[in-house]
Symmetry: C2
Subunit: 457 residues, 2 copies
């Protein structure tokens, strides 16, 4: 069944399940529900209204609920509500059945007291695993890794490794890569399950493993980890501490979430929405996310206005000058945003390394020169044929030419500079660069106007 | 070894390899080179200068070169050069050793005659697989799927399935999901290698497989496929034709590329760069990608200018009016881009479904009302204290208020409308919405000015 028929089917099943819950018919509910993929279970569950939903956990084991919660996609502030509907001891047991990284993600969304209280009633080993993960800073490899991996010694046969694998498979988050460590738990190799299956049963692991294993450091940025994973086509990547000891793995499903999150993040910053605003929020929540930017931009816009205010005298003599203000400011903003986007994506995808930063600036200066010359000449013609005033045309055209060069350079300089200062270059969002370029363009334009003033007809 | 030490190490190895190539020392070259991960091999290879690079293929088997080319990341126009350096028969054999989807990707970048000539000298079976894939339209599931999957019948034991698996493992692109089909090749189930390993050897596949298998249709958009894969945490997803027959699979490594591509694409469209412009291109290539947008915007900007031109009389009486034009147009552009970003991301992530489109518009109207009121009141105060002119303050403030409501609505209406027309909503890029909102805001502002004119001091 394909995606859209899938959706309809899920809706029908959803209704069946609601009816079963209303009748309190455990068997009917479980028969249907347990047939669903955990992602679909989570979708049905989170879509129920609160009083029916609060019955669901009574019909499911903590382990079954753990599978559902590993796949749930809800807003951060809803975890508190959902968990609050269940018995605390049940929640603690559910959390201990979840993969440690997913459980840590859930606890991160709760208020601190509640998280601590679940950890207290949880069984000690599981609680320790989760606590270890909660220590790591957000957006680092440590914060998204899990500790449920399979590590073996190199000094054994493929047969005995397969034996370990079968035993540990139910607990491990992935069994498709097996990591090889030495006596000090230092990472020395990796072998994929695929190679293990193809290999001769009596071969030694040390002979069949790949020993130039690529790992990431626990403190590495999650975006870097995603890039490594994508470049090498890995299904999982090992995480090592500062002594090169294996302490966790990051699986590809978590990396897909990271890629999605980072893409939304960069996108919304370019648009000047601090933090992604979801379509299902109410207008107050949406306005709260957008107003900070709008108010900053309002004040910056007032600066631009006061700058133009200084030329009020000039403007009242030549009102036609005002006509081209939005054109010039708009072109400056657009070209700056284009240059910004290229630099920010270059930094994000790793294409832009230290040695080619100067090359980029030089390139952008050249690009500004070409686009500026093209648009400048076009403008001279258009203004001349429209206003029959060559001096005005030249003035606007030369302004466009100069503005495009400077604005293009500004668009690439700002993110490079932010990156140098270890600030996320995506913060240098579109609206910010647009305002800077508004000011630059107006200074250039009125500078030109002052020069040309006496020649204007 | 972690990522940064990895980089240094690769550089040292790269130099060793270049020296070996210069000495034509095959053994030294192969010893080092074959130790590298194919991604690193590809990086070293594509970084060499042409005359040294053209020797590399003489030292590697077509099969080894196939692994390298499956991992290469180069510009589309470079494939032609790289393949041109090698013997055509060698290239054809290399392509036949690549996974069919990767080989099809390479052929897609060549000019048609060259692609056909490679397919002609290639062995028939491999050529047929690749030709089948080349038929599918770009950006569909068919265009990114591969035909090298493992499909078995439900009527056998786990033991015999494992046997098939071991035999087919070297050819299959993934062995971690085994798909179950009926006599008509219709997809009836799936079992992961993990479950197969845990299962009892004598169990029947029909008893242990998962029979509510999620599949995508061959014509489905690649972005939808990525979403399904991310939601369900799949490592691979089966692709079916219109008779529900299994014809291919899509693996997670290809989906990571899709996610990256779509993110870059949306991002650059928001910034008004048609198609992503990479940091390593020359200024002419960069300018060619940006100029179409800039020229369109230049003409739209001229429309705005001619609109303001109609108020030249008003402006020459009250030059102060010109001072606030960039502020109002800028605020309209910003708020529109914010609303646009939320709608485009909502559509891209699937959060925005048919039933909540009206809800979104209502929400955006509310958001515009709140942000408009806040900014409007702020502006009244600022302008009053700056210019000591209450009427001017009221006029600018009310314009901001009205503009923000209309511009926010426009920002969400445009992408929704495009989506309705089956146009990629990301095309409604930032600069486009900004220009529309420039025009709206200027009409509102001068409309107000005309109303208030006689009261201005």
């Amino acid at each position: 069944m394909t995606d859209s028929s899938e959706n309809e089917k899920n809706q029908v099943i959803g209704e069946l399940l609601v009816q079963a819950l209303e009748r309190e018919d455990i068997d009917a509910f479980r028969t249907e529900f347990m047939e669903l993929h955990p992602y679909d279970q989570a979708k049905v569950y989170s879509g129920l209204n609160a009083d029916i939903r609060s019955k669901v956990y009574l019909y499911l084991s903590p382990e079954e609920m753990a599978g559902l919660f590993e796949n749930i996609e809800i807003d951060e502030d809803e975890y508190q509500n959902l968990l609050g509907e269940m018995d605390p001891a049940y929640v603690a047991e559910m959390l201990s059945h979840m993969y440690a990284d997913d459980a840590a993600d859930v606890l991160n969304e709760l208020d601190k007291n509640q998280a601590v209280s679940y950890l207290t009633i949880m069984d000690d080993e599981a609680a320790q695993d989760i606590k270890d993960l909660l220590r790591y800073e957000e957006y680092t490899a440590g914060s998204i890794m899990t500790t449920e991996f399979i590590a073996i010694s190199a000094k054994q046969t493929v047969r005995s490794a397969m034996h370990i694998l079968k035993k540990e498979a139910p607990q491990a988050e992935t069994i498709y890569y097996i990591y090889v460590v030495d006596d000090e738990r230092k990472l020395v190799g990796v072998i994929s399950l695929r190679d293990l299956i193809i290999a001769d049963d009596e071969s030694m692991i040390s002979d069949v493993m790949f020993d130039r294993v690529v790992a990431v450091s626990v403190s590495e940025d999650q975006e870097e980890v995603a890039r490594t994973m994508k470049d090498y086509n890995f299904l999982a990547v090992p995480v090592v501490d500062f002594q090169e000891r294996l302490i966790g793995i990051i699986t590809v499903d978590d990396i897909m979430d990271v890629m999605d999150e980072e893409a939304s993040d960069d996108y919304s910053k370019l648009a000047g929405v601090s933090d992604m605003d979801r379509v299902d929020k109410n207008p107050f929540a949406a306005a709260r996310k957008r107003l900070p930017w709008l108010v900053i931009l309002l004040f910056l816009g007032m600066m631009t206005a006061s700058l133009i205010g200084r030329f009020e005298e000039t403007l009242s003599q030549k009102a036609i000058l005002a006509v081209f203000i939005p054109l010039i400011a708009g072109m400056a903003g657009n070209t700056g945003t284009q240059a910004l986007a290229v630099a920010v994506r270059g930094i994000a995808t790793g294409d832009l390394e230290e040695e080619n930063k100067w090359k980029l600036l030089l390139r952008e200066a050249g690009t500004g020169l070409i686009t500026g010359a093209t648009c400048g000449v076009l403008v001279i013609f258009i203004v001349y044929f429209w206003q029959h005033d060559l001096v005005l045309g030249l003035m606007v055209g030369v302004s466009i030419f100069a503005t495009l060069i400077v604005a293009t350079l500004a668009g690439s300089l700002v993110p490079l500079f932010m990156h140098k200062l270890k600030i996320d270059p995506a913060v240098a969002s579109g609206p910010f660069i647009t305002t800077i370029n508004d000011i630059i363009s107006i200074l250039i334009y009125f500078g030109m106007a002052t020069l040309f003033m006496s020649y204007l007809s």
